[in-house]
């Protein structure tokens, strides 16, 4: 087990063991170690193999969990991985990043009296078994002669591309960044998912014949028209934008939480969070950013304008952060970032009080007059959500609450254009596994539409 360095938030003794801190050191490695063969066997055999199991229902991609676990128990690891990946092409990522407590494991019948089965870790065990060996579980379908473009290579894009390739369509997967994989590659801290895992999934989709083109950004409507001319259908898996501006003085000194996580993942040595960091926000991304700052040696204080009850981070993430020694300051709103000579010296904040519920149903925080105070710090990171997909409007797509409007089959307002992933997540919370399911739904819908075209043509 990776040791989790302890440290109280306000003590000066927050330095970790340097060996752990060096890039690749244990402070950066996956929190949960891989299961040993014996552990996996014991855990798999603990599974009751429920009929019509609640874990399967609870999984947004409806992986046949009892079946894949039974296959681990019988030593059929390839079959187990196939069962997983058939339902969820990004089973390796989901095994690591899914909030299993809220999904499969939260629904496990053993949860009430015992410990639920460690479904996530078992899934990781089976998928890693094949992906570490470069084994491919699927082959491309018989060529249909149809071409589909998928824009964005995050979980929704890879999932859709894989399913479309299995149907036999020629798929081009466009990615604006240098590496494919989207948030799996850039936005999930290495403590949860090492970059190799995301890259193996990219390799798997390439092995299905998908043409992955990185460094290719979709910038406007004209380009979408070109794509539509060259392809029979387009799936937009654009994700969301940057962390929005807070509109406070000194904001230019604030680090973007997602960028911070990206640096922590790709180049941990460059991470210099200073001695005292303030993280603004209390969602799961904020906790990830805070975790990395903490692991890099900083005292971390998370500042949130509401209370513990309203924070959007999962309960288990919050508890994890507390365990990491991260400090929380609730009912506090930053109003100015203070600096001296270009260096941050603190965050000026105001205390908040909860008022009547707002549109989100949560109590609206209101500033308490005259309660301004300063939190001294040398680093400020904001993780207060992501901007809605700006590109959607440029492309001429109808929107709903700022997100791309889609129907049940994830069709957009434009003919032959489907969309999925975080960019369509007007309701419910955005997550990798929901994005994967979107990819499946869109691929099924696209496949059905293209087949219709064939039979009518």
């Amino acid at each position: 087990m990776t040791s989790i360095p302890s440290g109280s938030p306000n003590s000066s003794d927050s330095a970790f063991n340097p060996a752990e801190l060096s890039p690749g050191g244990s402070a950066w490695q996956e929190l949960l170690p891989p299961m040993t063969a014996h552990e996996a066997s014991v855990e798999a055999n603990r599974c009751l193999y429920c009929y019509d199991a609640p874990c399967l229902h609870a999984c947004p991609t409806h992986i046949d969990i009892p079946t894949f676990i039974r296959k681990i128990g019988t030593g059929n690891l390839r079959g187990s991985a196939r069962t997983i990946l058939e339902a969820n092409f990004l089973g390796g990522t989901c095994a690591r990043v899914c909030p299993v407590q809220e999904l499969c494991e939260g629904a496990c019948v053993l949860g009430a009296d015992h410990k639920p089965i460690q479904i996530g870790r078992l899934q990781r065990y089976a998928v890693d078994h094949v992906q570490e060996r470069g084994l491919q579980m699927f082959v491309p379908g018989m060529p249909t002669g149809k071409k589909v473009a998928v824009v964005g290579s995050g979980p929704a894009g890879i999932s859709a591309a894989a399913e479309l390739a299995k149907q036999g369509h020629a798929v081009t997967l466009l990615e604006k960044r240098e590496l494919a994989g989207g948030l799996s590659t850039y936005g999930i801290i290495s403590l949860r998912e090492p970059i190799e895992v995301a890259q193996r999934e990219v390799e798997a989709v390439q092995a299905l014949g998908v043409d992955v083109q990185t460094g290719h950004e979709l910038t406007g409507a004209a380009e979408l028209d070109i794509l539509l001319n060259e392809h029979d259908a387009v799936f937009l898996a654009l994700g969301l934008g940057a962390v929005p501006a807070m509109g406070i003085p000194g904001e230019e000194h604030v680090l973007d939480g997602l960028e911070f996580i990206e640096r922590a993942k790709l180049n941990p040595a460059s991470l210099q969070p200073g001695q005292k960091a303030v993280v603004i926000g209390a969602g799961n991304t904020a906790i990830d950013a805070a975790t990395m700052a903490r692991r890099a040696g900083a005292d971390v204080n998370m500042v949130y304008r509401r209370t513990e009850r309203e924070m959007t981070a999962y309960r288990h993430e919050y508890e994890f952060a507390l365990h990491e020694g991260i400090h929380f300051t609730f009912l506090t709103q930053p109003i100015e970032v203070l600096s001296k000579g270009g260096k941050v010296t603190g965050v000026k904040c105001v205390n908040m009080a909860l008022g009547a519920p707002d549109a989100s149903g949560r109590a609206r925080p209101e500033p308490v007059k005259g309660s301004e105070f300063v939190i001294e710090c040398d680093t400020v990171i904001k993780a207060i959500g992501q901007e809605k997909p700006a590109l959607a409007q440029v492309l001429g797509l109808e929107l709903e609450g700022g997100y791309i409007k889609v129907n049940e089959d994830l069709q957009t307002s434009l003919p032959r254009v489907w969309a999925g992933g975080d960019g369509v997540r007007v309701r419910g919370s955005a997550s990798t596994v929901m994005a994967v399911q979107d990819g499946k739904i869109a691929a099924a819908s696209i496949g059905a539409a293209l087949e219709k075209e064939v039979s009518h043509g």
Partner: protein, 459 residues
């Protein structure tokens, strides 16, 4: 505090837990240690004819990660020099006068050979002799072990050769690798045996390695059948014990029976005793966990006896035998149905699939608002809250035949109970019915007529 002491065919022991003749009783050093842990007796690993052992000797049965649910061995009788064994037996008996020290023996089927070994055993001061008629491999090919146990005439003759020359109690250990356990039992008794013990190990091939295609245990690329023992054989042993304890010939002889086969805990031992055993022998469990297991065996049995008000082993030995019956004496009108306790049910629905696929299709699923539903799910729903709307299995009692499969697959203790319900029919056994109406055994039409008359509906 219960008195666990026994007098088994004249062999006295402070408790009924003996180590069986096997690797745990291979040497004086070991048996000394076992006695220090509290074992009431030990049957010394079989001495007799000269042998050579091989390696590997064991194969284990694991199911679902549980080790040694059974073990198979191809080990032979003691390969230590005879005089070393005899010297150590004498030393152990001298050091532990209150414990039962029994010597298992196996020699060629020859009266002189038996006479020689018996004299040597008597000289050690041991309390009794057990005749090993069970060894299923290695010795049987040489006309010993199971080769004697499987031929009643040989069994009687060999036993006679021993009992006619010794004053020590003689226990005949029976092999289960036969069709009718009664025949060798009768033969042993006819040969003068003072007691019987059973079961020895069962012929078995443990497993086949799916990579090398070798059978286990693999002895330099070859394998052979061995003797199967451990928890998995207990029901077979209980049945053979019951056959003996309900046989008029055995009962008339009055010989006590020492039970063995899969005894791991005091609970297992108590079951053997309820079916008539007055001493038990243990091997596999000790090989799995060491001699220390006897502490709970003594403690647990004693506490259970106190709870039940049994002062001695003899107060409950055989207490379950009156329940033993033939199929023809069972009440055909007895009706039980399964009832699922919804407060205990964790909704794994294993009972549902077991009943639906392999029993009588009489469990339905009901949603929390009381509507009968089919299995399945809405693919657009997800999240842990799906568990809140999960259906609960409910038995459709009029259709339940009371097979008890569901109660056996249910992972929750006491969640599914088999409840006796009035069938509305008069008690009748198969023997009574067929005596009164012999035609029902021959003709489906006659059977249908009887069913209609009795109100028996089968669907």
């Amino acid at each position: 505090m219960a008195d666990l002491s026994i007098n088994f065919a004249g062999i006295r022991a402070p408790n009924p837990f003996w180590l069986a003749s096997a690797p745990p009783t291979n040497s004086g050093l070991q048996i000394n240690r076992a006695f220090e842990h509290g074992w009431g007796g030990a049957v010394w690993k079989t001495i007799g004819a000269p042998v050579l052992n091989i390696s590997n000797r064991y194969g284990g049965l694991s199911i679902g990660g549980q080790r040694l649910l059974a073990i198979n061995n191809v080990e032979l009788i003691s390969d230590r020099p005879l005089e070393v064994n005899l010297r150590e037996i004498a030393e152990v008996k001298r050091m532990w006068p209150d414990r039962a020290v029994i010597v298992s023996a196996m020699v060629d089927a020859d009266p002189q050979a038996w006479r020689d070994i018996v004299m040597m055993i008597e000289d050690t001061g041991a309390d009794g002799i057990e005749l090993n008629y069970g060894c299923p491999q290695g010795m049987s090919e040489r006309g010993m072990g199971a080769a004697v146990g499987q031929v009643p005439e040989m069994c009687e003759l060999n036993t006679h050769w021993v009992t006619s020359v010794t004053k020590l109690p003689v226990i005949v250990k029976l092999t289960p690798n036969i069709t009718h356990i009664i025949e060798p039992a009768h033969a042993g008794i006819a040969g003068g045996a003072h007691a019987l013990s059973l079961i020895n190990t069962i012929n078995s091939i443990m497993k086949v390695d799916l990579d090398s295609f070798q059978i286990t245990p693999n002895i330099g690329g070859r394998g052979t059948h061995g003797g199967y023992a451990g928890p998995a054989v207990k029901p077979i042993a209980l049945n053979m014990l019951t056959e003996l304890m309900t046989d008029p010939g055995v009962l008339r002889s009055g010989v006590p029976i020492c039970g063995m086969g899969g005894i791991v805990t005091w609970r297992d031992a108590a079951e053997f005793m309820l079916l008539g055993a007055t001493a038990v022998q243990v091997c596999t469990a000790a090989m799995h966990y060491g001699y220390r297991i006897v502490e709970d065996m003594i403690d647990g049995l004693s506490n259970w006896m106190d709870d039940k008000g049994f002062a001695t082993i003899y107060d409950f030995a055989g207490k379950s035998l009156p329940q033993v019956s033939t199929f023809g004496q069972l009440d055909l009108s007895y009706q039980a149905v399964a009832r699922i306790n919804p407060d205990k049910c964790i909704q794994c629905n294993l009972c549902y699939v077991a009943c639906n696929d392999t029993a009588h299709q009489c469990i339905d699923l009901y949603s929390p608002d009381g509507i009968r539903v089919d299995p399945g799910f809405d693919p657009r729903m997800n999240g842990r809250q799906v568990a809140d709307s999960r259906p609960t299995p409910v038995v459709r009692e009029p259709d339940c035949v009371g097979c008890a499969l569901c109660a056996n697959v249910c992972p929750v203790d006491n969640c599914i109970e088999m409840v006796s319900v009035p069938s509305g029919r008069e008690s009748v056994t198969w023997d009574q019915l067929t005596a009164a109406r012999p035609a029902v055994t021959q003709s489906w039409a006659a059977m249908e007529a009887y069913r209609e008359e009795a109100g028996i509906e089968i669907h």
